[in-house]
Structures are given as C-alpha cells and as structure tokens.
C-alpha cells in the first residue's frame, strides 16, 4: 500500500503549486512530485495582437519579474524590426533588468527563505515568515525590505512605474533617463552595497548549519544553462546562451535563433508546467538547471570588483558541493552585489543620458526571438508575425520551466531523506517546501501557459486513496 502526502499550497514561493509524496506501508517515500496547478494561455491569446503590444502584454505573465519579460519580449520585437537599437537603450534596459534581479533576489532571500534559514526549518510555522524574522532580528528584516525597495525604486525611477512599466518597447525604451533619476540612484548605492555585504556575512556561516539539507536539496549532477559573456563574466542581457555539463565542461553555445534544435519541451500529466530538456540527450536525461546557481557555476568571474571577490570565495567550495540547489541562496546574494555594482557602472557610461533611445522601424522580419536572464534563469520569447505585424504564433520558455525537472527530482530527494511516513512532522514537510524555495520558482511565469500553484501535501495509499492532506487552499 502507498500513501500520498499532499502539501497544498506550497507557501513562500511565488505562485501556486503543490507537492505530493507517496509513501509505502513501511513509511518510506517511494515517489514525490511537484505540481503547478495553473494555466493562463498567453501563447494562445496573443494571437492577432499587434507585436508592439507584446512587451507590455507579456510583462503581465509575472508581477515579480515583469522586466525580464519586457526585455526578452522587446528583444524579440527588435528582431521583428530588424534594427540595431541605440547603445543607450541597451544600457538602460540592462539597468532595468538588473534592478529587477536585485529586488527579486531580495524578495526570495529575505521575505521567503530567510525565515527558514534564520529561525530554522523546524520553527513554529506561525512565526516562520518575514514578521517572525522581524521580531527576531529587526535590522536584518529591514535590510531585506530596503534591498528590495532599492531595486523597485530603480525600476520606478527609470520607467515611472514599479510593476508592469511599459517603458521597454520595440526598438529601445520610450523615454531617456533623467539626470535627477540617475543622481538619485547613485546616491543610494553605497547603502545597499553595504547591506548586501552584511547579508553575505550573515549567510556564509549558515552553510555549516545546513549540511544535511545541502546534501539532499536537489543535490545531483545536471547540466547548467544561461547567458554568459564570451570572456566568462556574468551577463543577463547580451552574451551567448551556453550549456555546460555536470562536470563544468563547455557543451555548446546555443544560437537562440535555433533554440528549438537544442531545447525540447515535455508535458507531464501532473503539472501545467512543462519540462524543457536538452534535446541531444533526450527526455528526461537532458536535465539542466538555470538561474543564479547555473550562472555562477558557469562564470569564471563576475566582472565587478566586490562581486568578483565574493564569487571567488563561493568558487572555493568543491564543484560537487556546488551541485546542491541550496546554493541558489548563496549565489543570489552574490548576484545582488554584482547587480548593485553593475548598475553603478552602467549609470556612469558616457552616453547614459542620451535622448536617442529608440530605433524606429516597421516590421521587417517574420520571426523574432528574444532571450534574457530573468532572476530565476533564462527566459525565451519567440514570436511569428504576419506581414503587417500581427502576432500569428508565440512560444515562451520561462526560467522556472527549465528548472522543473530538477525541482521535481529535488522534491523526491528531499522527501526521501526527511519524510518519515510513520510519523509526519511539519518540519519534515517544510524542508520539502524549502527545496522548492531554493529554486525561487516563479510560478506565475511558469503558468503563463495557464494557471497557478497552491501548495498541497497529500498522503495517499497505493490505490490512490487520499489518507491525509496538509494544505492551504
């Protein structure tokens, strides 16, 4: 007989998902899955829309990382125009995208995962949140809020709106940066830099406390994918789309225009989220991970001084150890640091205040593909248009999707280690959720195709009868 535990909804993740854990008569975990339970249909209903509407429309896939969608979508639209966009526009888009990464990473680390890390996996669930953390360490909580606020303010100062700005458009951005906005952002940089350095100091000692988790939090060899500069430094906008293998060896630089030759998508009956895989290895062998862990496992250097130092320290860990998804948290903090430094750098480029920020053209190509690095990993928008620029077809591969297989497998790995079917304790299940949190899955993104993800843990017997449910509904 098998029992199934359902965790529904998975909390402190960005979206609706649930986890089911199957347990045999002896109380051993025999299987576990992660389910995304929402589907929204963007690929379908964008049909017929004018392509210039796509960036703003696609931003509505996700309120956490709308900018990444804006950027990927606008890049696809640039291809439809077949123009080179002004350098200033590129740099402004980069700032916006990185600012978003900072706020999103801050959200993931401080609002969603820090309660586990700081208060402990077995802490009182009622306290295990940002408010509990605020009680325990007000300054840390305030720092987290400040960091996220910084990112959001940069977005607002550039685009006029924190969430779903329309500023990134086909051919560039709609308005130049104002000197006032630039000064305001630069003025905040020292403070947030310090906050991030403090956060790293807080985090690194935690590694030793979570050795057990590190071992099983989706700790297995996979390939990694992400954008990277040809010189091996971090990149979230341009660069090449690279795949490395589980040993860190270069596998392939993918031409985004031919992504379909390298990346396939599989459907699992139990989830609205599809599972992309590396085609040459097939499904499910072609498993890979994306996001900060992938980016920093691939990078030879960050490209900014403080982040380079931090990266060096991270890379002093064994390669094998760095296969654990627990290190998503670590790499996230390093990327925040990189982001702040990079924003500063970009704001100091010579033409950043140029008013030439948009290339004007009509539709000149029938197909466009745009890639960007979202906080959670590679984001790919692919559009086809008719001769007048009306969308005829769209496909989106979103960051969280790439990690779907790893999350599913990580849930199983963690459940197997921590869940005892004879005596279920909340802390066990929280660890199963926590592994999902390491990936910081963006389930509104993942469900662009339709739907949402509550967390739901179900205990089922072999015949599929539900014995017990732990769920949030």
């Amino acid at each position: 007989m098998t029992n199934t535990i359902t965790i529904d909804p998975v909390t402190r993740i960005e979206g609706h998902g649930k986890i089911t854990i199957e347990i045999n008569d002896d109380g051993d975990v025999t299987n576990a899955h992660f389910h995304v339970t929402q589907l929204r249909g963007f690929e379908k209903f964008s049909e017929g829309r004018p392509f210039r509407e796509m960036p703003a429309l696609m931003a509505r896939i996700c309120g956490i990382c709308p900018v990444s969608h804006l950027v990927a979508s606008a890049k696809a639209c640039d291809e439809l125009l077949a123009v080179r966009i002004p350098v200033t526009a590129v740099n402004l888009r980069k700032i916006l995208n990185i600012a978003q990464m900072v706020q999103s990473h801050a959200l993931s680390v401080f609002y969603l995962s820090a309660p586990d890390l700081m208060l402990g996996m077995d802490a009182d669930p009622a306290k295990r949140n940002i408010f509990g953390m605020y009680e325990a360490d007000p300054q840390l909580a305030r720092n987290g809020v400040r960091l996220r606020q910084f990112g959001q303010q940069v977005i607002e100062r550039l685009s006029g709106k924190r969430i779903h700005p329309n500023w990134v458009v086909a051919g560039g951005v709609s308005d130049p940066l104002t000197p006032e906005a630039r000064e305001a952002i630069l003025a905040d940089i020292p403070e947030v830099k310090q906050i991030t350095l403090d956060a790293l100091k807080w985090f690194i000692p935690l590694i030793d406390q979570y050795r057990e988790e590190i071992k099983v939090f989706a700790n297995f060899p996979t390939m990694y994918m992400g954008l990277i500069n040809p010189d091996g430094s971090l990149e979230h906008y341009d660069g090449v789309l690279r795949i490395i293998d589980a040993d860190g060896n270069h596998v392939k630089d993918i031409d985004p225009r031919h992504y379909q030759e390298s990346i396939g998508e599989a459907v699992e009956d139990h989830s609205f989220l599809k599972s992309p895989f590396y085609k040459p290895l097939g499904y499910p062998e072609g498993i890979y991970r994306v996001g900060p862990l992938a980016r920093l496992n691939m990078a030879t250097r960050a490209g900014t001084p403080l982040a380079d130092e931090a990266l060096k320290e991270y890379q002093s860990l064994d390669w094998e150890e760095r296969q654990s998804s627990f290190y998503f948290h670590y790499t996230r903090l390093i990327e925040i640091l990189y982001g702040i430094e990079r924003i500063e750098e970009l704001l100091n480029t010579p033409d950043i205040l140029s008013t030439h920020v948009q290339s004007l053209a009509n539709v000149n190509a029938a197909e466009g593909i745009g890639v960007s690095e979202a906080p959670r990993g590679t984001l790919l928008h692919h559009y086809k248009v008719d001769e007048y620029g009306g969308i005829t077809w769209a496909n989106l591969i979103i960051a969280t999707g790439h990690n779907n297989m790893a999350m599913d497998r990580g849930v199983y790995q963690t459940a197997k280690r921590f869940v005892d079917g004879r005596k279920i304790e909340e802390g066990m299940l929280n660890r199963v959720e926590a592994v999902i949190r390491t990936f910081d899955p963006c389930l509104s993104c993942s469900t662009h195709a339709i739907g949402q993800m509550p967390l739901h843990i179900e205990l089922k017997d072999q015949n599929g009868n539900v014995l017990d449910v732990l769920q949030r509904d």
């Binding site: 703003a56 429309l57 007048y388």
Partner: protein, 237 residues
Amino acid sequence: MMPVKTFKIDGQDVSGREDETILEIARENDIFLPTLCNIAGLKPVGACRLCMVEVAGSNKLLPACATRVQEGMEVTTNSERLQKYRRMILEMLFVEGNHICSVCVANGHCELQWLAEKLGVDHTRLNYMFPAKEVDVSHYRYAIDHNRCILCTRCVRVCAEIEGAHTWDVSGRGIEAKVVTDLNTPWALSETCTECGKCVQVCPTGALFKKSRAVGEMVKDGQFLPYLKTMREVDNA
C-alpha cells in the same frame, strides 16, 4: 441677428444663442458634462447618452449635445439619478468589448478610462461579454482593435464631414455593429482612405491607433477639429 436665450444650468444663470446646445453652454461655463460620442467640430449624434440632463417640466431626459437652449429652461446636470445612469453606461461599454486597460495603447490617455475614474466606476456588476472581436493591423501606419471600439462613430463622422472620404461607416447592427472601411475590406486595401489619420486622433479610446505606438503611448489630439472648421469658414468667407 441670432436671438439669445437666458436660462439656468444647475441654478446658475447662463445665456446662449438659440442655435447653441445645452452642452456647448455648459462647457462655456465650466460645467462638467461627460460625453463620448460628442466632440467639438463634428455633428452631434446623441448616441452615447452620457450627457443626458434633466430639464424642469419634462419627464424625459434630454441629451445635452443635441438639445438647443430655450428661454427660461432649468437644466440639472448632475442629479443622483443621472450619475447612476452615467456609471451604468460606462459599465456597459466596459463589458461590451474587451477593454484591457493595462495593455492598451491608450492606457492613461483614454477618455473611457478617464471617465470611469472620474465618475467612480471601480467595477461593473454587468456581465462581461468577452466577445471575439478582430484587430486589423493591415494598414502600414494605423491599426484598429475592435475590442476597444465603443461605436461612438467619431471616426465615421470625421472622415465623412471633415476629410470628405467617408472611408468609415458602421456595419451590422445591435451588439454586432462594428465600424468598417469600405466594403469591410482590410484597411490597407481601402481605396478611399487618404491616410490622413484624423480618425485616429478623434478616437476616444485605444481602438484606433498609430502602429508605431506601444502600450500607453498613444496620446490622442482631437483639438485640431475646431481649428480646421474655423479655418475652413474663414477661407470660404
């Protein structure tokens, strides 16, 4: 000499020539009346019913845009009943089409959206009809998204009355009505369109827009109409 009438709007004494409408006099006196089909410079059609007012002694509501002023009339522009009806009219427009303000080219520059905010429409109790309406992006400069069309017919009138091309008209009827170019041909294939763009500028929503504009970027400018009319009169005089 055109006789002048004196009357009251909301208790305020006002005056107007006998060929002027209540709406014109209200505007002249900074008394707000919402309108969507009406635009200065085009013939009034009295279709949107937003500018309905109460006139003492008449149990019928009258459209201010199409009602001439009369001596001694007492007009009320903003009773509770009128406000309720106006909100419902706006709700009707929202449920009839697919007005997704957030991703509309005219977001922030839309008369419908602005009126909803101004009249306090924060939701609608009516049933969203979610019709399957078309978008015609065939024209190289302009596009029309029928999802956002409120059938005010400003485009039809500006094209016929001012540009003189009469490229636009309304086809079908009732809830199926829609504006068309020529024989419902794609805009790009219209033989009569002069590509002047007046229809785009007078459109109160994001239904007609320049294709070069992204979400929130389509700012309309209907102000040219009175200018055109006046200049034409000056030249003809």
